[in-house]
Symmetry: C2
Subunit: 405 residues, 2 copies
């Protein structure tokens, strides 16, 4: 952070074309009326909590110093006034519009840009408007295999707009292909570090998936790997997985991607009881060797606070013994077997052969990946992988949107 | 992983002193009777899913190859038999007791050690027995300040039993002090890497908290920092935080620890409506600068699937504008203000001054930490920190328990 960064409420202006036509206080709350006749009531604690003045917020970091517990129980807006001048002390962008001035019952005074108030209003219409801005997910089926988002290494490494396009595709569709990645070890770190640091695991920062004509370890067997997410054994599964192909001279070993959100959506519609079971019953995953012993239990399908599917957690080869009452086992296994059957259904499967220089980047908490058996005597196969968490991709998208938006 | 590792069901034997007295099949399920008269019914899919034979499980990795969807819908145990011989093919420890032989309706045959069956039985008594083995948490109050678990650098670095003692104290009490850590930069990585890799963040693998007589950045101000967890802005807050004191010549700056689980427990008892609000209403945390913009919303108090408090997520200076209906704001702010008031209550606070060579290691998702204001002109202050996730501590405890138990 440097001194030259302008001080803004949220590192971005909240622009609005709407005009405040009225402001009044009722029982200590503030009611605003806008030129589109929207009416918003603001709770006094909410407004006071968000006072952007230089006493309540540390100017350079924009971090809140004021603690709302220090407001009196009887806190009330004593007087409000709309000013047509922008709130100079807190914002430099006149497009944030008018300013709401509030005098509080305890003597503090606050000034809020109209754009900020419009963006954070808590009436039903304003909240619905915000929810409508949630990015729409693209749900994959076999019929979409040709619609895959394909990007180039060059675009990601040199063009911020290209980087943003890629990350938005990754966030919303969960599956992308990056071409022309140099076939050198650790080349995949270039695109990953355009986002942020990678997520280290017990397999290292970069993990090697390498086959040899004579495999010397079970980790490098050539067997079929059924569709799975990586590391369901961790409380937080890695968000995005990068799989970069350096060598692929072996016969077989095709990659298959299955959109777990597509299966969850179909299951919710066609098998609601199975869906209810898999969204509520914790299932254990275990990964144990001689040096580590990771375990975590969580439902196979996670829902966010709005009830939308937010995560798939499934790797058959890492499942542990289920700890559920005997009488729930029939319904539980019926649901699990149905899910597993659907991972084999052709309508959900996208199959591709990896070419050296190709790098698949996909949402590991959504897009299950599988590998067909291959013949290790037929040639070498070397992939490298890294993980980058969802937090990092979301942060980078916000920063790039600030710069280009 | 090496070839010399013995093949065992779960990298540990499931020993039992109990004896199976009867086994029978009813409608395809298996009912076992033990010498303490416990009766357990096993669902056929559950048993088949856990067949440990070398065809169903890859011997070297103990990873499951068999997929339960491949069992017929009509799967049934056709015949069962108790053998007094241990299941030689899958286990080398005779203390696992008898073997249950099962012939399945599809022709497959399975053999389960009695110890494994006893440990994974799904009848109410067996499940209650397992739940009773959950480690008991030690809940902190000011009156326990003298009972702090104190360990030495040497003990952690050289003695596996000492390392295990420390990690168990950390898991169960959430707060430990390690003494005699060399006052050299990065010395805290020694104890951290006795557990596993550290968790990297945008602040680096190791972060420096350094004060200078003339601070040049807001990150190094000398102001009071109220009790908080680190990085509530991430989907998964870092599990454990290490704070190592290298230099502390400044006046003030005492460290304060507040057990969030103690507050949650008191709130659950005394203010159930506030507790209900804080366990269900997502509250946003934001941390944004010119290069990153992290945001996450989650309830301040998280509960696990059993309803026990599992996490606190709170940093006043990183809170964002709450997105809740206007009519919920009064109850929400009442709950939030009550929680914040309790973080100031002397009965929950443990205050200590950091001495060079001291390293506090604490559960960052439970134990809020605070710092009193200090006078940066009075002398230098330099701390270093790292994070290690809960998954890693749990894994290391399991491995050390295997070796020493």
């Amino acid at each position: 952070m440097t001194d030259s960064v302008p001080i803004v409420v949220d590192w971005r202006p909240f622009r609005t074309e709407r005009t405040l036509t009225d402001a009044e206080t009722t029982d200590g709350a503030v009611t605003l009326v806008w030129d589109d006749r929207r009416r918003t009531q603001f709770n006094p604690f909410f407004l006071r909590d968000n006072c952007p003045c230089n006493e309540c917020v540390l100017p350079l970091t924009r971090e809140q110093v004021f603690e709302i517990v220090d407001a009196p129980d009887t806190l009330a807006a004593a007087a409000v006034r709309i000013s047509d001048m922008p709130a100079h002390s807190v914002v430099s962008d006149p497009a944030e519009g008018q300013t709401l001035q509030v005098e509080w019952s305890d003597g503090h005074a606050s000034a809020y840009p109209a754009g900020w108030l419009r963006a954070h209003a808590t009436d039903p219409a304003s909240r619905a408007e915000r929810r409508a801005q949630t990015p729409k997910l693209f749900i994959w089926g076999a019929e979409h295999a040709d619609g895959l988002g394909v990007f180039t290494h060059d675009q990601i490494m040199t063009d911020p707009a290209g980087l943003l396009d890629w990350l938005v595709a990754l966030r919303d569709s969960g599956l992308t292909l990056v071409r022309d990645v140099p076939t050198e070890p650790n080349a995949l770190l270039g695109p990953a570090e355009r986002i942020s640091h990678v997520r280290e695991t017990n397999f290292g920062r970069v993990f090697d998936v390498r086959s040899k004509p004579t495999p010397d370890s079970a980790a490098y067997t050539a067997v079929n790997l059924p569709p799975h997410t990586d590391l369901p054994t961790r409380e937080l599964q890695p968000g995005y997985q990068f799989l970069h192909c350096l060598v692929n001279d072996a016969t077989g070993g095709e990659s298959i991607f299955v959109d777990g959100f597509a299966i969850a959506q179909a299951m919710r519609a066609d098998y609601p009881a199975h869906f209810a079971m898999l969204t509520t019953m914790p299932l254990p995953s275990w990964n144990r060797d001689d040096r580590t012993d990771y375990r975590w239990s969580a439902p196979l399908i996670a829902l966010d606070t709005e009830g939308a599917v937010s995560e798939i957690r499934f790797a058959n080869f890492l499942r542990g013994p289920i700890d559920a009452p005997t009488e729930q086992m029939p319904a539980l296994y019926a649901a699990l077997r149905q899910f597993q059957a659907m991972t084999r259904d052709a309508r959900f499967r996208i199959e591709r052969r990896l070419t050296p220089g190709d790098m698949w980047v996909f949402d590991n908490r959504r897009m299950m990946h599988a590998r067909r058996a291959f013949d290790p005597r037929s040639g070498a196969r070397h992939l490298q992988g890294v993980y980058v968490d969802r937090d990092e991709v979301r942060s980078r998208i916000r920063i790039l949107s600030r710069q280009t938006g």
